[in-house]
Symmetry: D3
Subunit: 232 residues, 6 copies
């Protein structure tokens, strides 16, 4: 047995296995809700993770970074590991809402091909980031700057907003939240999501026509069996 | 004495007394702040209830639903009880931010004539809901899906975001929050709100012209009497 | 020694020393993040202070007001002390999210020349305020009204959202938050902010061209010295 | 239809129907968890309600009081309505953690025969209250005093910590929380609780002897049917 | 005008004016609630500040320290400035719950004569601290350690838990919370607190004898005048 | 590549590799703070995890369980997997404070040899659990019961209170919090913790004798170099 990378500080892993690009892009067509269901209702980050502007929907492969409270030094180290199509996922070793990321880092990340940042901390320059069209999902917005003094790690497994993220995992994010799909499951989950989506069109048409879910899903029998009583 | 409906599970009440439609529509012309004042400063839901998009202003009659944590089965039962002009008010028996409601249910609710959903829990598909123009006030936004396994109730009195809602009560919601007006009080409160509104135009003109509230409301005397001191 | 004004109730100070107008307007050109850094990373209000609408960026001189929970009487007293270019900063003696401020007071404040309100409590009529273009940063949005019964103070030092604000201090607020610059430091901080801003253009161009922060800031040596290890 | 008492201010109801004393005292022998289950898993106040000292377990009949933020005037009005065996249940019209209750009021309440206070706000003098043996369940502990300026009501239905409490309802509180039993249901719930309790002794003995819940409750079949897989 | 010490980093002020020792010790005989009232209901820290063990009641003169998130270097600098009878008041420049203080620092602080620590952050080794009898009021308990890398300041004005503390101010803390009395006001507030306390004994005896506050405070008239109605 | 167990539902892993018993027991002699430092300041659960009674200090090997909101079915499945010396670590797939665990399950867990429960949710019967001496660290205390309807998993990797726990990992918990040590690291971390502990005795003696940390740790030079200024 060797010490797992999770929990190690001062490490940058260069070669990571990214989820299949086609599957990741396919996943990006669905919302986080559909992907989350297709996963079996796991993998969703905590609901305090909110987009800095409405309407963005992205998918990408995770480059992870573990930061110290109030210190964004490793963000620069992470930038070098970004490949086009990546989403940077930043965790902090303690709860801290400082603004670890602003328009300069976003410029650098975009130049490297990053599609978004997911950070279990704060972000700043949000108006400029919105104008640049660089989406961020974060726990907080804060003008508070950070220092560059303590080592963290890049591309190790991290816990971000209550969810385990391994480098290379597929990340799907939209207005409903952020979902993590293990790299090895990306293709399978994309197919499952597609199946769910295919079924939804017909359902939506029926419901729009006034058919009740009670009838469409044959719920009346089970509800009666469970003891539901109608009174006047 | 008979057991009150409040606290009962597995019950659907079909015939409810809705607040007077004219009064409810009248209330909808005022903001929640004006209605809340006209009520005597009671009936406001807790301030964590936020709209999923800015600018919506609705009024309607409450169809209530009590859900179990992580279970939205009763939402489908509630759909059948919706009449045009209703607002669905959903309470949960425990604190839970799962996404109990998405675009499929919204399609069904809209087909039934619902004007909005007020839910003391989470909602998902918020971008689609915004595009559909179906307003929701909720405690959270979450991609997390729910199951359909446990009975709740429909059209019983519920506590939603700290406020008692009886089926048929008038609900007024806008960017400032959600106010509940007992059905029997709808007409009286609408008239009181109208009076407040009538007085505001003149006040606004005076204040815009630079008249101070200190003078317009004759506050200088009471303030001095209360002991206010001006120093240089 | 005399009792400090901080902590006193029932006092209105009429003559306050406002930060230099030119410096304050200069500060308004920078975001709160830049000003906060130029200050030495102090003076930022807590991150729960959020704008009622996105995109506003203001600077001004503080007129302070200390309110009692659920009582906005002193807001009217404060209105009289407003001069063009001021920003009203409201603190509450206890945590309370009531809506202390709405469109009528905003009309009055605008007529007096106020540029914004910063309040460690709630605000209402936010849709109307947005239409009027009167920006507010607040802890909460609430339709809940307040009474006018208890004295507070105007233009005394207050703690607002975790930060000391003296009357006359420069306030800078945007989507990233609210920063307080002591009146005496306004000119110095504006100059320091200008220097930071001047340096950013060049950096941004380099980063946009793909230069890494690792190289631009010469971080590779310090990182290696700190023990950073690259693995494959 | 007449306006419901819920939502009315400035009212004191003198004659209330209290839950049956024998049933209330019987309920006091069980913990809040057992009573909550016997009720059908409803009626529990939010979990932020905590006792000021560990180990107290009480039951009583509710005298309700609705307070304004920062104002405890109605506590004195409520004192007069207390009868031996009552528990005072205090709600606030807005969220506020001020200390509405201290050792003087506790002395008065005890002299009237009150068994406890349940308050959706703050309490102070907690060390003295602990020494006096007067239990309080509250949302906060705060040295902050209150004023006596605004009317509330006594013995109207109130929402306390997310739960509807009608005057006369049975209140059961211990280290696990606070449960409200409608007055009309007190006897029935006490009997149901007794049945649960009777069954627990045998179960506890079996479990202590090493019998697994899996076997005692015959869960292995249902688990297998639900798809549970054992792997090595 | 010179830049105020508030907001400055990297500064240690050695000579501070401490509140009168006799007055501070006198204040220590009263609870925080009595002192807070005697102050005019200001000066109370936010209610999230809780003691690590029940029953401690202290008063002392403030030695202030401003820390960076996750960094307790300045605690050691502060230790040297402690004189017997001081209470150390620690503020953090951002919200952070790390454990900045444990049994080793407590040993040092006690050796210097400190009576307590008030910290707007986390503390650890709480069992040992309890056994040592060194009381701490904190925002959190956390085993998380800190580094020693960034300068803060000692004995400058700080904001701790929402309250301004100047070095030398009197601090009164017990189970109800933490109150700050400006050094210049210590004697006056102690006298006012004594007067309140003197009056309470008689009141307590009356209330214990069953006299109602309604009568003792002559509230019936004002309540009737305010419109209170009794119904049956 | 195969799908990782993390994220899978409906699985019970029977054979897990537990951390070395001697190392785990050794770790139990140190507090969570010492172990956390010896780990390199990682592995600490979020600070909202609090013990139900003060003074407990345990170490053990993790049996993990993943629960659905409001459903404790898998707790019974987990019971069968407990071996003497284990600590059960329970995670929930969504935030939910229901009481998943009470005195009956505790009786069963104790009969199996469990030393404690760590749960990122609620617990009930806390007075009885305290009397039984079965320690629990939890996010909440709640009388709210749960159902037994939905599958989770046992002995898969889980995220509990922000930390990854693999079955078999060493868990150390006391009044300061809960730390997770990967099974493979248990011996190494126990040795590192012992070294830290050995050094602390001498330090404590010096500090108790009045030696300042400034001198004992030779901080004066670095502080001066960092720019610290003393003023009078």
């Amino acid at each position: 047995m060797t010490t797992p990378l999770y929990n190690q500080l001062g490490v940058v892993k260069r070669n990571i296995v990214r989820a299949d690009r086609t599957a990741v892009d396919h996943l990006g067509k669905f919302g986080s809700a559909t992907v989350h269901e297709a996963m079996g209702r796991v993998g969703l980050m905590k609901t305090y993770m909110r987009p800095i502007y409405a309407g963005a929907q992205v998918s990408g492969t995770a480059v992870t970074v573990l930061l110290h409270p109030g210190d964004n030094w490793m963000m620069h180290v992470a930038a070098e590991q970004i490949q086009p199509g990546d989403v940077v996922v930043a965790a902090i070793t303690a709860e801290c809402t400082d603004g670890y990321f602003g328009d300069l880092l976003a410029t650098s990340f975009m130049a490297r091909g990053a599609r978004a940042l997911i950070i279990d901390g704060g972000v700043r320059d949000v108006r400029t980031l919105s104008e640049m069209g660089f989406p961020v999902w974060s726990k907080a917005i804060s003008a508070k700057g950070t220092i560059k003094a303590t080592l963290g790690s890049v591309n190790i497994p991290v816990i971000c907003a209550g969810t385990l993220v391994n480098p290379g995992d597929a990340i799907i994010a939209d207005d409903d939240g952020v979902v993590v799909v293990p790299a090895v499951d990306a293709t399978r989950v994309a197919e499952a999501a597609q199946k769910r989506e295919d079924l939804e069109g017909e359902k939506r048409a029926k419901l729009a026509a006034g058919v009740l879910g009670l009838d469409m899903y044959n719920m009346r029998g089970p509800l009666e069996k469970a003891g539901l009583k109608y009174i006047d």
